[in-house]
């Protein structure tokens, strides 16, 4: 044992001289996490990060077998699921982790919003977080098409069609996103490139910035807790909070294993470009509230197409969300901001209700 310890110390010293491990250790030991009744929300960001790491790992394994062309994509996924050892598990976990990651990301976003963690000096942390949310949804949208099955094909057709309704630049956006006028093999190759190269690159930058800022500013304490006079409780990040984080990650892993075993990702039918669209085409659940809203809007509002109004509305909504730290002046001044709390609750209710309606209303066309 003594020899092992000596070897370990030797290695530590060797690394310390070269990369400054002692400073990192000191930093880690110094780092503290506030303990209060809202501490549970601190785990969501880490859980999202963990699921993202699973996505990277399983995604790399999928790339070994996946072939990004209209002729081979479906067959390669089928081969992966039927013939490759544990191929079914890798695909199922990639699919489920994607959904769980978006779910935890949404919870993380709304917990940060409701706890007003975006207030100075964490505005850029918020901006990078919103950017990461956009990237994650783009990951979901581009990844959904890649198996090249019937549902994915038509959902992408509908989804890209919506970009076509954006005023002025709509037709340009449509052609850029589809790689032509229609959803074809060119769209698939393009989505693949975006999914495995462009989005990971952007994520690396934004995630790096986001995590750096979280480390720099530490965990934000909710204003209500901050205003309390009694002394604040804290726990060390290493090992207490980290171990708790690992509990969260393992819980997510157990959920993924159970989901992959009992609800494996399906493949469906291969996309047929000339077949009529099947009834009840639905987007992924995280786009459902937008899709349903656009469906509910009347054909024309004040002489403008309802769909255009809807898209502009979501554009303005997205911009508002991005600028929340700058618009919420009361929180920035350290005052209570009920308006922004209610706006967050209204947004959550709106998303849940529209998503629920999207899955329960009888499909008529």
């Amino acid at each position: 044992m003594g020899t092992l310890e000596q070897h370990y110390k030797k290695l530590w010293n060797w690394l310390d001289e070269r990369v400054g491990l002692a400073e990192v250790e000191k930093l880690a030991r110094k780092k503290e996490v506030p303990v209060h009744r809202h501490s549970v929300w601190y785990y969501l960001g880490g859980m999202t990060l963990f699921l993202f790491m699973i996505q990277v790992a399983t995604g790399i394994l999928l790339i070994f077998y996946y072939r990004p062309s209209a002729e081979e994509a479906f067959e390669s996924v089928k081969f992966l699921m039927a013939e490759v050892e544990f191929g079914w598990l890798i695909r199922s976990i990639h699919s489920w982790a994607a959904n769980l990651m978006i779910f935890t990301l949404f919870i993380h976003l709304f917990s940060v919003w409701l706890l007003k963690a975006y207030r100075p000096p964490r505005e850029i942390t918020w901006l990078s977080g919103i950017g990461l949310m956009g990237i994650t949804m783009a990951f979901g949208f581009t990844g959904y098409l890649l198996p090249w099955n019937e549902l994915a094909f038509f959902a992408t057709q509908v989804g890209t069609e919506i970009t076509g309704a954006v005023p002025v630049i709509g037709s340009f956006l449509l052609r850029v996103s589809r790689g032509g006028e229609e959803v074809t093999g060119a769209t698939l190759t393009r989505f693949y490139g975006i999914h495995v190269a462009v989005l990971p690159l952007l994520t690396t930058f934004l995630l790096g910035l986001h995590v750096y800022l979280v480390q720099k500013h530490g965990m934000s304490m909710p204003p209500a807790i901050e205003r309390q006079a009694n002394p604040k409780r804290v726990m060390p990040f290493v090992p207490n909070f980290m171990l708790r984080d690992v509990v969260g990650w393992l819980t997510a892993l157990a959920m993924l294993a159970a989901l992959a075993a009992y609800f494996p990702a399906e493949l469906g039918q291969k996309a047929d470009l000339f077949a009529p669209a099947p009834i009840g085409i639905k987007p992924e659940w995280y786009f459902m509230f937008m899709f349903k809203t656009l469906k509910y809007l009347p054909a024309h509002i004040l002489g403008i197409e309802g769909e255009v109004i809807g898209i502009l509305g979501f554009g303005v909504g997205g911009l508002f969300l991005l600028l929340v730290p700058f618009l919420d002046r009361r929180t920035a001044r350290g005052e209570q901001s009920h308006l922004f709390t209610w706006l967050a609750i209204a947004t959550i209710v709106f998303m849940i209700v529209l998503t629920y309606l999207g899955y329960t209303e009888v499909v008529t066309q």
């Binding site: 089928k78 039927a82 598990l89 726990m235 207490n240 157990a254 075993a261």
Partner: protein, 418 residues
């Protein structure tokens, strides 16, 4: 030469001497003008109907068939000296139509693919023979099936001879008991045909290639198929079955017994969808009509049914297990595709029944049974894999939960210390 020969010669002489229109004539304006003006429906209807016909569309006029001179404004237009024949007699009708329709050179200008043997066919038909040999003018002639003036090509759904309307057109006479009384023939053909799988294919599935009256009886040469050659008629579509049947023991026996080949088991007009129940000696089995278990034929019939049932059962079993695996999320599409070979073998075995030997059916059924067995094995394997996956993942969940438990204990210890 006999009466038929004389009539054919007469027909040919008429054909040779009848003035054939050099080309489509201008619309018969004077005929139509008068026929519409006199206020008599009997005269106005033909003029109205002709306007929508294929002949009018191609530029022919009334005089093309009726003769006369359409340029004359009054009754002079109907001068026999100018070839006017009025309403052709029933004996005359086929001659009038065939002036153009039997002239290959002339017809080519309008429809190069169109047959020109309608008259030749007609004089061999029961209709034509009765008309020409017995002078029976109640039988069908061209205008009865095609209508006199509103003639449209058979491809036009409004045509009286479109595949969807042929049965009703034939039935307008053949389902008329009073009209058929003199001929002493049944009148239930239309009713029976409309219960058949053939009519279902035409009318429900919209498959216009499925047979209607003329496909089996011929159209212009309409004749009931003879007992010895009914198989040839059915064999036009059911090639494999007909070939096997022709070589089988039944082919000769049925002729000797005076029973009509295919129709003995499958009916003629009321052909229903063939099912496995027709085979063997059980209830609804047609074999049981002649055979019993204690004769050789009955033994073969039971053997045939046994093979077919076995293959169907094994196919269903394999299909069910693959479906179960698929619904549980297993990827078995390749196995399902391969299993379709067993279904094909079943169809081949069902066709092979017409050889009436157990060996012929066994040969096809055995191939299908091997495929079905492989499919079933793949299904079992898929379900076993599924169980293995579930157990494996359940074990990993337990391990993860144990890790979580350990960590929680560790965290508590840590926090107790601090």
């Amino acid at each position: 030469m006999g009466r038929v020969g004389a009539l054919v010669c007469l027909g040919l002489v008429v054909l040779a001497t009848w003035p054939v229109p050099a080309a489509a004539q201008p619309p018969a304006e004077s005929c139509v003008a008068c026929h519409l003006e006199v206020g008599d429906d009997r005269l106005a209807t033909p003029a109205k109907e002709f306007g929508n016909s294929v002949h009018a569309a191609k530029g022919f006029g009334c005089v093309s068939c009726h003769g006369g001179d359409a340029n004359e404004a009054g009754m002079e237009a109907m001068d026999p000296a100018k070839g006017y024949i009025g309403k052709p007699d029933r004996e005359q009708i086929s001659q009038v139509c065939s002036r153009c329709h039997s002239d290959a050179r002339f017809m080519k200008r309008y429809n190069p693919a169109m047959r020109v043997d309608q008259l030749t066919e007609y004089i061999t038909s029961v209709h034509g023979r009765r008309l020409m040999e017995l002078g029976d003018d109640k039988v069908a002639t061209c205008a009865d099936c095609h209508t006199a003036h509103a003639i449209k090509p058979p491809s036009d759904p409004r045509s009286s001879v479109h595949p969807l309307r042929v049965a009703d057109t034939c039935g307008s006479c053949h389902a008329d008991a009073k009209r058929m009384e003199a001929y002493n023939i049944p009148t239930d053909q239309l009713q029976e045909y409309k219960q058949s799988v053939h009519w279902k294919m035409v009318s429900v599935k919209g498959d216009l290639s499925a047979p209607t009256c003329n496909d089996c009886h011929g159209n212009h040469g309409a004749t009931p198929p003879g007992i010895s050659w009914v198989g040839n008629v059915c064999g036009q579509c059911h090639v494999v079955q007909a070939e096997l049947f022709t070589k089988s023991a039944h082919a000769k026996i049925f002729v000797d017994l005076g029973t009509p080949g295919c129709a003995t088991c499958h009916e003629n007009h009321a052909v229903t969808r063939a099912s496995d129940d027709m085979l063997g000696l059980g209830e609804g089995a047609v074999c049981a009509g002649c055979h019993a278990l204690d004769d050789k034929g009955g033994e073969i019939a039971a053997g045939l049914r046994e093979r077919i049932d076995l293959l169907r059962g094994e196919y269903d079993k394999a299909h069910a297990i693959l479906l179960k695996a698929e619904r549980a999320g297993m990827e078995v599409s390749q196995a399902e595709f391969e299993l379709s070979g067993a279904k094909d073998a079943l169809v081949k075995a069902q066709a092979a029944v017409h050889a009436f030997t157990v060996e012929a059916v066994k040969k096809e059924a055995d191939a299908g049974l091997a495929i079905a067995a492989k499919g079933y094995e793949r299904g079992v394997q898929a379900l076993e894999d599924l169980q293995f996956r579930r157990k494996g993942l359940a074990v990993s969940v337990v391990i993860i939960l144990a890790l979580i438990g350990g960590l929680v204990v560790k965290i508590r210890q840590l926090e107790r210390k601090t």
